[in-house]
Symmetry: D2
Subunit: 366 residues, 4 copies
């Protein structure tokens, strides 16, 4: 097996014409698509419907070309979208395709596996039970990828459901309790639960660390390979595991490094260096073509300062803090790579160092 990665642009969140063209040209076999990760141009918050619009458009296309129902496809192909293309970021999506191929390379190559949980009860969202559901899902995705060792896993992308007004009402109406009634806070709690789940599955923490009261509180608990998105448009967890394996072929490999804070350009350069790519200060044109995808998590430092200087992201009533940090870290990473097609997802609670995050790069190894 080998993993092919296609990075495609979109003119608006309902535009999947680039994928349609690739399918029509025979470059992509739609039946072999295993996951899609993308950035759409909404606000990235509870009321960001660009994710749902793109998802509907994507599965309508695939349903038509594959001859299956959109619902059936959506239940087996994770489509993980992060809203918000602040600043220099460019709306795009990355299509992961699992193709036949021999393990041919001098080193391990990009492996991919996916899994879905069942629907998360609204009462569980953003709690320890949510983390356990995600952990089980990660283990299933590792098995799907044939990745037996947690050490071979480089990056885990999770999409987790959140609470909305109606979901809170539904839970309360049936006598349940919810982790929060604040929709924005539920997005953060769901991300935290996802990170705990990944850390547990990868052995970065043990079971005793997974407690309701540690979520969004004990930031020493973390995964350095987890990227969690949360959104209103789903009810189940979706997991994509990416790693490097000698059992996989193709030309691609993946590297992931933590970012210590939002200014940690060193983390970006290190991830590139892991793949043999120099940035001095920017990735040069020929190497830039080797880069197939860049995936970043970041976070507005909750302590209100970065390296001792006050930032204003957390107290801004006009612009959501996640929009702020995506724009800033996106600007930094895009400047190093020389390309705005960076998947930058805000909300890195428990994902990488507190106040920082992580950066993963997929690149050709030839």
């Amino acid at each position: 097996m080998q993993t092919a990665v296609y990075r495609l642009g979109m003119a608006h969140p309902g535009d999947v014409s680039a994928l349609a063209a690739a399918i029509d040209a025979g470059r992509i076999d739609p039946a072999r698509i295993v996951a899609v990760i993308g950035k759409t141009e909404g606000n990235g918050g509870v009321n960001d419907f660009t994710r749902g619009y793109f998802t509907q458009s994507l599965f309508a296309l695939l349903a038509e070309r594959i001859g299956a129902s959109a619902a059936a496809l959506a239940a087996r192909i994770p489509c993980v979208l992060s809203g918000g293309t602040e600043g220099v970021l460019s709306p795009h999506y990355v299509v992961f395709v699992r193709e036949p191929g021999a393990a041919s390379a001098p080193g391990p190559r990009l492996a991919i596996g996916v899994a879905f949980s069942g629907p998360t009860p609204y009462e569980d969202i953003g709690r320890a039970a949510h983390a356990h559901a995600v952990a089980a899902c990660v283990r299933a995705a590792m098995q799907d990828a044939g990745l037996e060792r947690a050490a071979d896993v480089a990056f885990v992308q999770v999409k987790a459901p959140v609470l909305t007004g109606p979901r809170v009402q539904a839970a309360l109406a049936r006598g349940g309790t919810v982790a929060t009634t604040d929709a924005n806070r539920s997005m953060a709690l769901a991300r935290a639960a996802g990170a705990f789940g990944v850390a547990l599955a990868l052995g970065e923490i043990d079971e005793t660390a997974v407690r309701d009261d540690a979520l969004l509180r004990d930031f020493a608990v973390r995964s350095d390979r987890a990227s969690i998105s949360s959104g209103v448009e789903i009810v189940a967890n979706e997991v994509v595991v990416l790693g490097n394996s000698a059992a996989w072929g193709g030309a691609l490999a993946i590297a992931c490094r933590p970012m210590q804070d939002a200014l940690d350009i060193g983390g970006v350069v290190a991830a590139l260096a892991d793949l043999g790519i120099a940035a001095a200060p920017q990735v040069a044109a020929p190497d830039r073509d080797r880069v197939a995808a860049v995936l970043v998590k970041c976070e507005p430092d909750r302590r209100g300062a970065i390296r001792g200087n006050r930032h204003t992201m957390l107290d801004d009533t006009d612009i959501n803090a996640q929009r702020h940090i995506r724009g800033a870290v996106g600007g930094l990473v895009a400047g190093v790579i020389g390309d705005g097609r960076i998947f930058v997802s805000g909300g890195a609670e428990h994902q990488g160092p507190d106040g920082g995050g992580l950066v993963a790069v997929i690149a050709r190894q030839d």
Copy 2:
């Protein structure tokens, strides 16, 4: 003479306590302050009152300590503020002090001069007449700095007045015409006029290029050393000229480089290199202490794409395009320097390359 530069933090836009403390401790002689350049945490648009609030607070302090009226001080000390500390940017202000000192250094050292125009008639704002007024003001500031050659000027900061609803009404009521009735557009036109004025004064363009219909249209007309802010709170142009001169002493020097686009990390690294500071990839801690101020202009590429990839800044009804670009370029420059105290001003029309901007660094040369 020599120029001392103090970079101070603020807890909110009315907080000048750091300056008060420096005056009280005898570190700064308030009578020798010649200019203040700062970033406050407003939205940077027409209705950003954090600039006015800081200005009122600053001159109230100086009036009290110097024993002069606030109005008289405001008429001789340019206070150039840019609103908007998006992302990792940190609210701060840079106080320029002209102190006695011999020309002692092995190379030229930071020189500063300032000038004010009279009030700009509302009918002139954002037009060629505005550019000519700025050019005259730049020449006066060069003279104030003792900088005879345009080549010795590294950076010119201008604050230019804009049109507001009442100003438009006033002009129309007296039978005049205005460049635009759109307040946001008037901010852009005022910046364009300022850039034309600097370019003219520095010999980057000649008089025939200064035409109403070239403003915001002919982007080949530009200055690579101009940084223009525009704001509702002033009626006259204010100019600060910074350069390097063998006639000045002290330890500081300034370098300025154009940025080709919002991803041009190379421009930032080059400006640092001009001052003997390496960034590989980030300025190391000892060198970071040498950096006294960083001043950046940037712009959301008006063609809707950066290096071929679509950006969404110009079509965003939720977040102003200038806020977007400040956050992204601020994130990039702050990442290279390792410090969020970067003066990043959006609106670089005709200031540096089209779609890019420029970056200036002031640093100790010892």
Copy 3:
């Protein structure tokens, strides 16, 4: 013939389940739907994709239930959406169905007709040529409704295409010119052109008034029965004409009144009174059930004041002026009706009195 009107809620912009349920229950014959007018919860600006998302969802449903292609249906059923449910406004859509029925009533009853133009060349958008295209389209829709006299037309809803970055580039690339390169301004110009077109078709103005340089300039030119939306998601003009006719049956009638300014509660009460409904101060519960739909146009007064008091809508960099005014006028009209399901569309340039707008009510006459 008679017109039935169904006002349906949505849980999000992709939710057409209420319509699906009504079709499944036999209450609505999908083949008889002639128009949909609705409010979705986006920002109402250029980058509001909730309109496209709802449209895609609507036509996917209708295509499936009718057995026609979504594209064919979209080319004959106007779907006019206004983004932005600020304040108390509730996302909803109004489905207009043309049913068989005898002219039975004591008075004239609600008549409806629709029409589409061909694609508007990008060079024409927001210009006099655009107005003429809309006028022709209004005449066609009147014919479709069997409304021969302009006096019988109460309300004309138009959806007009706008300029976007790519459209501007396309026009310029082929040697054309465009009315503006500013996407937000093109939305205003397109609305203005639509209003001129309606006014021309209804005889409120004559041909000599339709000039490029009158658009967004001569606000004495206006229609008191036009409501124009503009959006990025369409390329042709879509027109829905609503009137009262003795040739139509059913129970509904429509009334429309101008609003002199954003505080003109009297206009709302007058439109209700035209239909025999009292509001003292609020429509009482039984009468409230008679109200089938409320359609409002409004505008932030471009002179910066309302009845002599300064407003801040036009100079706000944080919240778009159209969002401001929709929230305020929506709050007023919803308070009189006692219901947040009000279609309130910002951007009333040349639609009703300058600085005001208009309000239409459809209600049962029994």
Copy 4:
């Protein structure tokens, strides 16, 4: 004694020229000013500095005219500002002046009293202890007004301090705990505590109801006469009590009514009727001149719907919910009055009916 009320406009948040002119003309004796309540055009959130800017400007003026220090004046004259002039609202401030005057009227007349608490410990903010501090302050203000009976109190305006990042850090550093680390939530908790305090002082609730865990939870606990603002710029509670008393003279009286929800136009009309003013549907011009001030509290219904129709205020990442509701209710009240100079303050938790709020009118009784 009698209370005079002056409603003044401002061109920007630092503009107190209207008050300066009134003082200079001898219309207002600055030494007799007892309170100022106003609306400035910021965002109304944690990072709204227009309140601080206006306050600084106001006390600088008064200090200069009275010959006292600004700090001393700020410690005895409550200046209660609400940020946010969404929609049709107009920036303005209401100056309350206590003048000599005999009790002359046929009915009770407007009485005013003020009081300040000491600084609220950060650990107390938004907790029961905060409510008790406010209650004591209300009782002091009643005494200042000579209002012995709670029944004679019509309206109590409180300004309460909130938590910010630095305040949270300070409390935690000294071993304290805080009610929340979320700045926006602390604004809501501070308002809740203030409402509990007023309700307790006015006998609307008893002491057992004042519990930490009832704040923002038990919405049956409420005051129908409390209006609480909270803001970052103060550290102590400030209270203004307004009532009607036979011991006071002058021409003014005050009425206050609860609003059941954001559509409750009836509450507005009832408050006017209490003062003998008709609105049918709008206050007619002569009566409009009798209106001296209008003060409103409102709230985005936390259950996500108003009269069964979904609203989108709580899930909006682009516009803060308080901005939404101020715009909507401001539009409604301004439409009834026919004037945009309405003090509308969001955040009516425990102030009036849940999901609604209250409206007070001060008007001439002749």
